[in-house]
């Protein structure tokens, strides 16, 4: 399967502050990739580089083989872009904005747009600026669906949406992407949403990529073990297999890619007395926090 997006040795700084160095990411054709990271980890920076709104200090991102800084109009027509906050030309109404965009895209399909608009309780001449956040999200999504792009880049699509609109957005999007073999690169700060939507996960921390793999692989390989130490002075953080460790008094949450047997044997071989050892099932949000830490 070929890659729609390839970022090679991407390095960027804001002044002297490093965002990341030699970052390599790729998005497979037909997959839905979710970029997860804490605030300031570089999610929006990556989206901006991908859309040509930020020139990286070095390295490059290729979209359909073209450098994202110099995309040709034909390639831009293949990319649907959702700006954080579902920003659109809010001085237009839903008819005007559909008429405006339809002039740019040869494959324009108005039906999905009007299907979504029919669910909104807005008057035909109501300006987008007077709509609720949820309604605006549907306008932005409807326009992307009508554009019928091959690749969708969505920057924090869940921002400002109530649970109902988030669910509607995700269900529409996943159904659309899977039925028409579309590729999606998305970020969201609400990780439960991602779990319903994505195939692949890319987790970034400050300056580096912590994980990039299919979400099913990540959820089975990344594990959490809870136990209580007899001696809370034992330092497990320095062990290579420990990806993160959260301790409250003598209660330990240990996150690792190693198996239950491996961890138990390690504790036993090193004479670390403990009790209540158990593996805890995680949702994606737990795993994300487990990998990146709580702060």
């Amino acid at each position: 399967m070929s890659n729609v997006i390839e970022c090679n040795n991407l390095t960027h700084y804001y002044g002297k502050k490093m965002v990341y160095e030699n970052l390599n990411i790729h998005v497979r054709d037909g997959s839905i990739l979710g970029l997860l990271g804490k605030n300031g980890a570089g999610k929006t920076t990556t989206i901006n580089i991908l859309n040509g709104f930020l020139q990286p200090r070095s390295g490059e991102c290729l979209i359909y083989g073209e450098n994202s800084q110099h995309l040709t109009p034909a390639t831009k027509a293949r990319i649907g872009f959702l700006i954080e906050g579902h920003i659109q030309y809010a001085f237009m109404n839903i008819h005007q904005i559909e008429k405006f965009y339809s002039g740019f895209y040869a494959n324009w399909r108005p039906a999905p747009y009007w299907e979504l608009m029919s669910k909104l309780k807005v008057s035909p001449k109501q300006k987008i600026s007077t709509m609720s956040c949820g309604q605006r999200s549907q306008v932005a999504l409807g326009l992307i669906l009508a554009q019928n792009p091959d690749l969708l880049i969505l920057d924090d699509f869940s921002m400002g949406l109530d649970p109902g609109y988030r669910r509607l957005f995700i269900d529409y999007l996943r159904e659309y992407a899977k039925s028409e073999n579309k590729t999606i690169f998305t970020t969201s700060h609400i990780i439960q949403d991602m779990e319903r939507l994505i195939d692949d996960v890319l987790i970034m921390d400050y300056n580096r990529v912590l994980a990039q793999c299919p979400i099913s692989e990540f959820m089975t390989s990344f594990k959490r073990f809870d136990f209580e130490l007899e001696n809370d002075k034992v330092n497990l953080k320095k062990e290579l297999f420990v990806k993160n460790l959260e301790m409250v008094k003598n209660k330990v949450e240990l996150y690792t890619y190693e198996s239950k047997d491996f961890v138990e044997k390690f504790l036993e071989n090193n004479g670390i007395v403990h009790k209540g050892f158990k593996q805890v099932k995680m949702e994606l949000e737990d795993a994300f926090i487990g990998l990146t830490g709580k702060y």
Binding site: N51, K76, I87, F91, F100, F104
Partner: protein, 222 residues
Amino acid sequence: MWKSIVYKEWIKIRWFLVGFTILGMLGLGYVFLKVQRGFTFNGGTGFWYNILFMGMQFFGYFKYIPLLGGLIIGIAQYFPETVNKRIKLTFHLPLNENKVLLMMHIFGIVSLLASYLLLLLAFISLSSIYFPSQMIIESVISVFPWFLAGFAAYFFVALIVLEPVWMYRFFYALVAGFFVTIYIKSPVIAAYGPAIPGLSLLTILLSVALLFSAYRFRKGEM
């Protein structure tokens, strides 16, 4: 694509353009009411004496109206693009980024030009009621730089509004203030005659200044 660009830009500026043109016409109406009043109360001789020997510009009240038009249309057209960085949507359209901006710009220039031509036509028509053709020609030469000032203001507004860094905006505003006063400095009738080709060239050069702000935005300056 031209049709879509024109459609969007028209939605943004239509009421401002119509409003400004009406305001300009009212301004002209006021100018010629004063002319009428001058002829009535000072008599023809007195009024002509003021024009010929006292250097009175009967159209002086009109001086800042084209400038105001450039500011209004520039802000109406470019400010909505910067709210929530909507210019990203414009740059994402399947067109070259500079091309799409220049298309928007050309629409703005043509709209402003249409409004200015209407005002100039009204100015010439009303002038012809009171003054001979030689006087009208001198007056048109006098007001021409004011219209150029309007275009310069429009180009500077585009440069300033699209600039992503506030400090640069402030700097550009100072430069704009300096440049625009060049066009409206002399109060002497037709004094700008010899300078019109130079001023026109300067204005044409300013017309592409917005591409620099757009380039800085796309580079990620902030």
